[in-house]
Amino acid sequence: MKEQLPALIVIVPLLIALLSPLVAYFSTRLLRGLGLTAAAVSFVSAVGALGHALTKGPWHYYFGNWAPPWGIEYVIDPLSGLMAVLVSFLSLVVLIYTDSFLREEGWLKQGIHYALYLLLTAGLLGMTVTGDVFNLYVFLEISSLSAYGLIASGGYKATVSAFRYVLVGTVGASFYLLGVGYLYAITGSLNMADLTVRLQPLLDSQAVLIAMVLILVGMGIKMALFPLHGWLPDAYTYSPPAAIPFIAGVMTKVMAYVLLRYFFFIFGVLNGFVPLVLEVVGWIAALGIILASVMAIAQSDFRRMLAFSSVAQVGYIGLGLSLGNMFGFIGAVFHIINHAIMKCCLFLVAGGVKWKTGEHLIEKYAEMSRRMPLTMGAFLLGAFSMVGIPPTAGFFSKWYLILGAIEKDLWIYVVVIILSSLLNAIYFFRVIEQAYLKKAPVAEREKFVEDKKPELPATMLVPIVVLGACILVVGILNEPLVSNILLMAFPGGGL
């Protein structure tokens, strides 16, 4: 059983996803148990595989025992293992949380929700662990299609924004597939390790440059890198609270991981046209960080503010990618982890407040700290981490990004990171002020003072508190995380 761990990460959620609607017909409680088991199995397998990769070196798993480059292989190296652990962990946490939203629904809607959610999980996990660029495209489409479905289940406005997301997302996927076509035409191979070897003598050719740009544009659309972020704000604002924490937390990050994988591992950051392409990415990302932060300040809807902040935070990852040195890489990967956890936590909080009060507008958050103390505590940690106040996790990833920028003498990026932290502070302190300092109107106040019920059901409160704690834990344990895992993940570092 143990030698099959890399396959189990993906196959268990995929299989349960297919069974979900059928199981839901017989018993929704059984469905919930099965769904949680699937997410837990894939989390445990991911942890096991990461442990193996850290102690014994990268794990190459040949599917159906077909040796690469002919067969499809799964590769668990420290980077993909870490991403798989992150994705499966957040999937499990958000799955625990969804129950309260789904309990009132009929068996069919529950079954379909679980099916789409587990398919999304399987697709994203597949993207992280696969070692084959076309297989990655297939998993990309599996995850995207299920995300369209999940977003569309949030009502009519969500359906319109999901349709827009379908159009834009498919353009992204087509660009990516065309890029893969170029790589295949140039090298005759689709296996990542094989591509790395075969591309080395060809990196000065313009065909490789075109492939690079096509893949960058495709994944840039999918990860909402400014100015390709048009689909994101509406999709995040209208989608149902049961699904959006996972989509917002993980999806764009996995796409960013794919870009890191291409530029740091397949092309190599110092070869041929890569530095040129990366420089363009850096400037675009820097511009995106500032503009999206300013847009976030202008929003009155809490979820929409978080959506624009997502665009800005993806810019940080792009910035780390563009630096192309070790600190930049560590900063980018660290920020992928941090931002996945904090954005997931903040959207869980938004869903919790919606569940309790039915409100999403920031002005309705008055005196929320007394109504929902634990939830708002988690929100406070998430907000501090977004701004970058130590010892929360967000500070350390920004720290490594700044170190990377200084190493390359790009002081303007240091200015951008600090300026955007200030902008982050402005829009998060606006919410903090509402929640902690403002007094609620008298009529509303009487309502919640008499309300003796707990702030949220345990299945919602526990995930929120766990993720809030994670932000602190990742921040405090940053040193072992960086030196034991992230340095190993850097190409050529560690093993």
């Binding site: 489409e141 009519y156 035409a185």
Partner: protein, 121 residues
């Protein structure tokens, strides 16, 4: 000139099809037309792969008696990859048509300007 027709022309045509997609998605106001443009773009990528697999004088990749050597057969791999891509594009089309049906039922229109007006009411 001969080289253009035997080698490059197909790629220019594919490029034209590929760019037709974004053009239609940006400038057409009807959502179904946007969807069709999206599908044209996917088809362009599929054709690109198929053109890669083609070989002058090659035959279908089934082992024929007496015909030995890779130069006599076209490359089957792009075709198998594109079978998967066709399935993906079919699924995308199905999902987006489903979304459009819902939109049509609720708002009664698929023209973008009218839709935005009715959504904001």
């Amino acid at each position: 000139m001969r080289e253009l027709f035997t080698e490059h022309l197909i790629y220019w045509l594919i490029l034209f099809l590929f760019m037709l997609g974004p053009y239609g998605m940006i400038f057409k106001k009807n959502l179904v037309k946007k969807l069709m443009s999206m599908n044209i773009m996917q088809v362009a990528v599929i054709l690109f792969f198929l053109a890669l697999g083609q070989k002058t004088g090659g035959t279908i990749p089934i082992n024929l008696p007496g015909l030995i050597g890779a130069e006599h057969y076209i490359n089957p791999l792009p075709h198998t990859l594109m079978l998967t891509a066709i399935v993906v594009s079919l699924a995308t089309l199905g999902v987006s048509l489903g979304l459009l049906l819902t939109v049509q039922k609720r708002y009664g229109t698929l023209e973008e300007d009218e839709l935005l007006r009715r959504m904001n009411q």
